[in-house]
């Protein structure tokens, strides 16, 4: 028993944007609906009109020069299954497989996951370390922004009214680089992250100097974050277990977690240390070419 609403299935993207414009601030995009439908049921969201963006061609994964374009309406099952993603961005495949359960992954989309902007959003840390760019489209303009500039706070993004997240461009990672995603929740499926973390490591030609590293954490601040101090600490240094431990410790200090029903702030800070250490280590192994999965 959902509150009544209008429903529009536009035939192309322009018509979808027109419909959003026409129906004003009460209009909402529906993609997978796994976040929107329960919110409507709980009456925390009461859209006057739903604009369906399925079947508008936003559900493809295509490889272009230097980057891969992922349509915002791609489901997590499609992402997890995609050969391109598996081969090039295992970190994203790990994030996609960590969301919900089979049934929800068959519906939920990556664009919807980002747009819902919950702090525990699993796709964000993966996209942060891949340095993805998001393309936002409205009738008036089309703009591309780094994924980190998308979130403004819990359930708040930079999306203007009648603007939608259309696709995500992920640059092809440089040679000698690797990345990984990890999540801890109260159970292994159908759960929000207590903490999630992603890391990427790019090694210099010598195979042991860290040329570049990125670390991202979720559910430990109002938005997903980059642990820049920890990243800076790693850059230019020779890889060692000690170094990684210290970076994980620094990364944990860059968070501002809260205590809630899922875990206490202290527990989250501890988890950050563990997850960052493990994510960096996986990423490093992948950079060495020792572990592709």
């Amino acid at each position: 028993m959902l509150p009544r609403t209008l429903y529009i299935r536009p035939s192309d993207l322009t018509k979808a944007l027109e419909a959003l414009e026409e129906h004003g601030p009460g209009a909402r995009v529906i993609a997978g609906g796994t976040d929107l439908i329960p919110s409507m049921r709980a009456r925390t969201q009461l859209p006057s009109c739903l604009v369906d963006i399925q079947g508008l061609g936003l559900d493809t994964i295509t490889r272009t020069d230097g980057f891969v374009r992922i349509g915002a309406a791609c489901t997590f099952s499609e992402l997890a299954r995609s050969g391109i993603i598996r081969e090039m961005f295992p970190v994203l495949r790990e994030a996609a497989s960590a969301i919900g359960a089979v049934q929800t992954r068959n519906l939920a989309t990556i664009g919807g996951n980002l747009s819902s902007a919950v702090p525990s959003c699993d796709s964000a840390p993966a996209l942060y370390v891949l340095k993805a760019r998001l393309t936002l489209i409205s009738l008036r303009q089309q703009r591309a922004i780094p994924v980190e500039e998308f979130f403004q706070g819990p359930r708040r993004t930079v999306l203007a009214p009648a603007e939608i997240l259309a696709w995500i461009d992920v640059p092809v990672p440089p040679d000698r680089s690797g990345s990984a995603f990890l999540k801890i929740g109260r159970r292994k499926a159908l759960t929000l992250a207590i903490v999630n973390a992603a890391a990427s490591v790019c090694l210099a030609k010598d195979g042991s100097t860290v040329e570049d590293a990125t670390i991202s954490l979720g559910a430990v601040a109002p938005t997903p974050l980059r642990a820049r101090k920890a990243e800076a600490l790693l850059k230019g240094c020779t890889w060692s277990e000690e170094l990684v431990k210290e970076a994980a410790w620094v990364a944990s200090g860059e968070t501002s977690p809260i205590s809630d029903i899922r875990a206490s702030a202290d527990y989250r800070r501890e988890l950050c240390k563990v997850l960052v250490r493990r994510a960096l280590t996986h990423a490093w192994k992948r950079a060495l070419g020792g572990d592709q999965r």
Binding site: M1, L2, P3, R4, T5, L6, Y7, R9, I30, G33, T34, I37, P38, M40, R41, L50, D52, Q54, S77, G100, A101, V102, Q103, T104, N106, L107, K188, A189, L190
Partner: protein, 162 residues
């Protein structure tokens, strides 16, 4: 704002009038009287409402019926009948994988989708495929056993999967 749509359920076309806000689970149960699809939470958490949409398991409590036009919906009523059980149904009975039975329709459809894609799943594959279906009675062990025994039966007997 009612709209007439055609839903294809278990191979049969049904024409129904729906509100855009009507959920697939309610249309299946209340309008088409296909009550084998169960509702345990209404929020995508329990999996009792699982149906197959174009062969893939989804939560019918999270799906607007109006969005399912032109797609193939399979419910438990379409899996097998008391006179002609699907191998999975038989395996659930033989392995004692059913207690109260309320989770069974959803479990069976998730299991069916798994075996369609992966005829020889490991225990971990089975557990992951069923992670979106909660069973409060059995403790899952016998359900996992039933699915792997069905997989063996199906791969042993060609075409035994109906």
């Amino acid at each position: 704002m009612k709209r007439a749509i055609i839903l294809v359920v278990n191979g049969t076309e049904h024409s129904v009038e729906v509100q855009p806000s009507d959920l697939l689970v309610d249309v299946l149960r209340d309008r088409l009287r296909l009550t084998g699809t169960k509702k345990g939470c209404g929020t995508g958490e329990c999996g009792a409402c699982t149906v197959l949409l174009d062969g893939k398991p989804v939560n019918s409590c999270l799906l607007l019926a109006i969005r399912c036009e032109g797609r193939q919906i399979t419910t438990i009523e379409g899996l097998g009948t008391p006179d002609s059980l699907h191998v999975l149904q038989k395996a659930f009975i033989d392995n004692g994988a059913v207690q109260c039975g309320f989770c069974a329709p959803g479990m069976l459809l998730s299991a069916k989708a798994l075996l369609d894609e992966n005829p020889a799943p490991s225990e971990m594959d089975i557990r992951q495929a069923l992670a979106g279906n909660i069973c409060r009675c059995t403790g899952y062990v016998k359900i996992v056993k039933a699915v792997s025994s069905a997989a063996r039966t199906m791969s042993g007997a060609e075409g035994g999967g109906r």
